[in-house]
Symmetry: C2
Subunit: 441 residues, 2 copies
């Protein structure tokens, strides 16, 4: 049986996952691909020995030098699983330069240097697979590029970071403060020691960039995404959200307005009957709306050794099949052919219009509501509901306001004015509310 040799750079969690998928599924893959996928070299500067089941095979070479992979003429596919920008970027470009196909889960890299990498790959006539970069094991990239090929994508809305969703779910179910849930998640290994990327929405923004690039056929850069995290959300916000019939989720949102497209990541109040409101724990769900297909939601584990290994494997098989049938670049890496890529204007955040949730913290004095509602009115922001609770004597109390649809620019000005009031003792928490755009019908 024909063999396709694979070189792996980075033998951490996901790398071990891939090795395990290859090991456990080898016969099953042979029955489906008609060839043997063989892991022939692993490069990792930190690893001194291979796990028994791999070492036992006797055919896998461990090296500390990634160059051993690039110069190996037998290796056709290089899998990069070290993450981060450098040396991952240099390794990928070098693999491409050596005519190797590349598979990567590196969303940070692709969302910032994707253009350079994909252009290099196109020049060398090799493929770059990145299914594992978004939604872990969920076949989201393939679905968007191939399954929904007959659609103009009208919107992308997703829960794409399992750590942030786990934290919000725990806060919702147990009313635990953000800091405590985070600490607990770190102790259990669900959150990184430095959780900034996950909780500040940066990782979600990486993924949104990748999805927008292939959905719209345009190069989007990370800097163009408005990104807010969940660290200011408190259990009290989750309680108020529930009273109003919402759940708070960290969403990536891109609505396609034709001449401009939105690109934003922020905590969002999602109506409780919406499918995304009911995605809990470490799960991810990505909602596409296509002009032909309507609403499609893809759900699964967005991270982890084996789910991510499953997605990497799907890319490896896809490329192997192209190699075996001599049909490399059968599907353009970024869905649209490079010559049809065009620039798209990103909707300025100030132009956004949606309903808002505000939680002000104000002294419990007469006239507070009148002052605050006066400022909102002056900026053309109309109030839908108000909740004022826990009145003590001249203490700071939460004042929660839900607005009708309002403009972001007006909201920013109004909130700045409100936060500058003497009677307001803390910065206002502002959460955007998901409306029917691009939503279930």
């Amino acid at each position: 049986m024909q063999e396709i040799n694979i070189g792996l750079i980075g033998f951490g969690t996901v790398g071990r996952g891939l090795a395990q998928v290859l090991y456990e599924q080898q016969t099953r893959l042979e029955k489906r691909v008609g060839a043997t996928m063989r892991l022939s070299k692993i490069a990792d500067i930190m690893v001194e020995s291979l796990p028994d089941h791999i070492a036992h095979d006797g055919k896998v070479v461990l090296t500390k030098d990634a160059n051993d992979i690039f110069i190996d003429p037998e290796i056709r596919i290089v899998v990069e699983l070290i993450g981060g920008i450098e040396p991952a970027k240099a390794f990928i470009l070098k693999a491409i330069e050596h005519g190797k196909h590349v598979v990567t889960a590196n969303k940070a890299l692709l969302s910032q240097h994707g253009k350079e990498i994909f252009e290099a790959a196109a020049r060398k006539g090799v493929e770059v697979g990145f299914e594992a970069s978004v939604g872990g094991g969920i076949p989201v990239i393939k679905s968007l590029k191939e399954g929904l090929v007959g659609n103009r994508i009208l919107s992308i809305i997703g829960i794409m970071n399992g750590t942030a969703n786990y934290i919000l779910t725990q806060m919702t179910d147990h009313a635990t403060p953000f800091e405590d849930v985070l600490k607990d998640a770190q102790e259990k290994g669900f959150a990184e020691a430095d959780p900034t990327y996950d909780i500040e929405g940066i990782d979600t923004a990486h993924k949104l960039v990748i999805l927008m690039t292939i959905a719209y056929g345009t190069h989007i850069h990370l800097d163009q995404v408005t990104t807010e995290g969940i660290s200011r959300i408190q259990p009290i916000d989750i309680d108020f959200a529930r009273e109003f019939g919402y759940r708070i989720k960290l969403l990536a949102i891109s609505l396609n307005h034709g001449d401009h497209v939105e690109a934003r990541v922020h905590p969002t109040m999602v109506p409780e009957e919406h499918l995304l409101a009911n995605i809990n724990g470490a799960y991810n769900a990505i909602h596409f709306k296509g002009d032909m297909v309507g609403n499609v939601v893809l759900y699964g584990l967005g991270a982890g050794m084996m789910p991510t290994g499953s997605a990497v494997m799907a890319d490896v098989v896809d490329i192997a099949r192209d190699i075996l049938t001599d049909s490399v670049q059968r599907v353009p890496s970024l869905s649209y052919l490079p010559e049809y890529f065009k620039t798209r204007r990103i909707t300025p955040l100030e132009d956004l219009r949606c309903p808002y949730y505000f939680r002000m913290t104000a002294l419990d004095k007469p006239g507070v509501l009148s002052t605050i509602s006066g400022i909102l009115g002056k900026h053309g922001i109309s109030i839908e509901s108000v909740i004022q609770k826990g009145r003590g004597h001249k203490e700071a109390v939460p004042l929660v306001i839900l607005t009708h649809e309002a403009g972001e620019a007006a909201v920013q000005q109004a909130v700045a004015e409100i936060d500058a009031l003497d009677i307001v003792t803390d910065k206002t928490v502002k959460i955007r509310i998901l409306t029917n755009n691009g939503e279930e019908e």
Copy 2:
């Protein structure tokens, strides 16, 4: 730009949907495929003229004779959208014989004559695409064949018939009797004049056969699927289900036990926190559990002109890409290569073990509960909860029992004995309860 000519047999709802997708997305498709997909001939015995936007193009030929498509050397892909067994089967075999690739949404045909069709296609070296046969526009076939290629599929559980799900949802939301919802759905065009296939689970069984075939690499036949419909479900069952924390859904279920696999379609009590419990209206959702990826759920509209058109288009593009890169049969039509297909034993229904819901209708006399629970006990069926309500004087009243896990064989015997009692005035309604096998974690 290169052209791929398509012949369409059957210009009904979905056929018109495909024509519309081709028309509206032509430029977008060209930018992604690098070729023009052209609908060149339409065969339909009932259609006298083409819609304006197609007629206007001036390049589409309308015929009443499908042979005009088969003998056209320019046509590479034949799309069959007439449905049913004959003449669809004859048309598909004839298209294959003429070396045409085939795309079809015909689940009834594939679930009963799939083996013959796929073997004919393999012999002629042509492809058969059937993405639209399961889950409408949801890319479920591609996800299973390619996206989850690195997995052994442990279970398939799905809501795969929009009509049945719409009826159950209406019954749940408005407590309307089955017959009234069905009549209303027929009047609104959501249900067929003859709804048997949808409400009796037959259409769902067709789809389960197709998914099992590609998930397990085995030829399953429709006859091997245990199939029960929803026509005996009443609003009272839905109310009781809710009291116990469940929703009633028509599910297709296949759990993979290794040496045998389950194949069943029946109304099922789904725990209300399970994602499938919250799939409402005409939506479909298919849940796969893979040994590597864990739980994956794919959600969207399972039928309709444009969603199905979107799925047909995905197949057309896939085949066009194989034609353009000369890589036909790059992915085996049924996921596993034909030579590796093997026979799998289907779990006999009698071997099934799960908890059950029973609604007995018994006269309100002393000793009834004792008699019935005695019969259950004799068959080793242990009771988890009982609800007895609406006691009138010697009238028949519902007696609802939830059991612990019990064997189907014992349950069938016990229910037969119970239904034979003089005090029992109507056949017992029996609904199986979904447990943790193959479920969310």
